[in-house]
């Protein structure tokens, strides 16, 4: 659920320029790789639905830990891949900012945070599957790791940038941000477990969509069912 919820003008101009520049570099690289390498059919199928689900759930505040929202970026990364996952993060953040949920000036920073969640979740999932993990623990762990990476990146961005109008010295700001990152980790594991169930279900009904056609037979033979 990592997302920088600060108003316009919260970051100094140099930080705004830095995160926006890095966001542009990331998305340019993603678009270049998509154009060069193409996209698999199963990823196209899930990218659109993933964007809709992620955007909808992004705006829903659930009454856990005082009131938080989920992102589904880990799920999106696992299903749509790192490239489309990063593009979905762009779409969701632009639409959210257009509705007032997240500052327009922080789009670059928030895209970096959410894209990193999708990218890390995808590679963690593929690595765990290669290590012969079952789908549920692999999906849940990968999504949790991805979302945790995003939370830590979010904290790092805030600490590096500093917050305009905050009288906190950098050390106190770091402790405060660490608390926010900690809360995000608590959310990450809940969202990660939900993601594990969703991936497990999808693999049981449409393994081709998750790119795990060969896995279903081997899991059935070991007695694992969805």
């Amino acid at each position: 659920m990592a997302h920088i919820h600060l108003g316009e003008g919260s970051f100094p101009l140099w930080a705004l320029a830095l995160w926006t520049g890095l966001g542009i570099v990331l998305i340019s690289t993603v678009v270049y790789r998509v154009r060069k390498g193409g996209i698999k059919t199963n990823q196209i199928a899930l990218a659109g639905i993933g964007a809709a689900a992620s955007f909808a759930i992004f705006q829903l505040n659930i009454p856990v830990w005082g009131g938080i929202h989920m992102n589904l970026t880990g799920l999106v990364g696992i299903l749509a891949g790192p490239l489309l996952g990063a593009l979905i993060a762009v779409v969701v953040n632009i639409f959210s900012a257009a509705l007032g949920h997240g500052a327009v000036g922080l789009l670059g920073a928030n895209i970096l945070v959410n894209a990193s969640e999708a990218i890390v979740a995808y590679y963690a999932f593929r690595t765990l599957v290669r290590m012969e993990w079952d789908v549920f623990p692999a999906g849940a762990s990968a999504a949790t790791l991805g979302l945790s990476a995003g939370a830590i990146l979010m904290g790092a961005i805030i600490v590096i940038s500093g917050v305009n109008g905050s009288a906190l010295p950098r050390a106190d700001l770091t402790v405060a941000v660490a608390g926010l990152v900690g809360l995000n980790l608590g959310v990450a594991v809940i969202e990660g477990i939900l993601t594990g169930f969703v991936v497990q279900f999808l693999v049981s009904v449409r393994p081709d969509l998750v790119g795990l056609v060969g896995r279903v037979g081997s899991e059935d033979s070991s007695g694992v069912t969805a």
């Binding site: 993990w133 949790t144 402790v175």
Partner: protein, 107 residues
Amino acid sequence: MDRWKQYGGLLGLTIVCLGAGLWGFTSTGGALPWAKRSAQTLQRGVQESGGALVDFGRGIVVAGPIRKGGMMLEFLGLVGLLAIVGVGLYVYADHYHGLDEQERAAK
């Protein structure tokens, strides 16, 4: 890999993350919505507080800026639009995939 190792790893990750979450919850103001918690903590630093970890009475609500800004119609419109595009892409990709398989079978 042994199943106990997989689930043990996931359990370890869960315990670490929930512990961090609980610490973050109490050290950043307790039961507060995320946006308020974030603004308050970054302006005033850590503040120990408690409250219910889960408050079902509050229910699931749409994010404050959308709800209070009168953007519900736009929000629902965007969700509908994205859902239509998503389902359209799914149908297209499914059909396209099916054609690919037919061509391969014909060859």
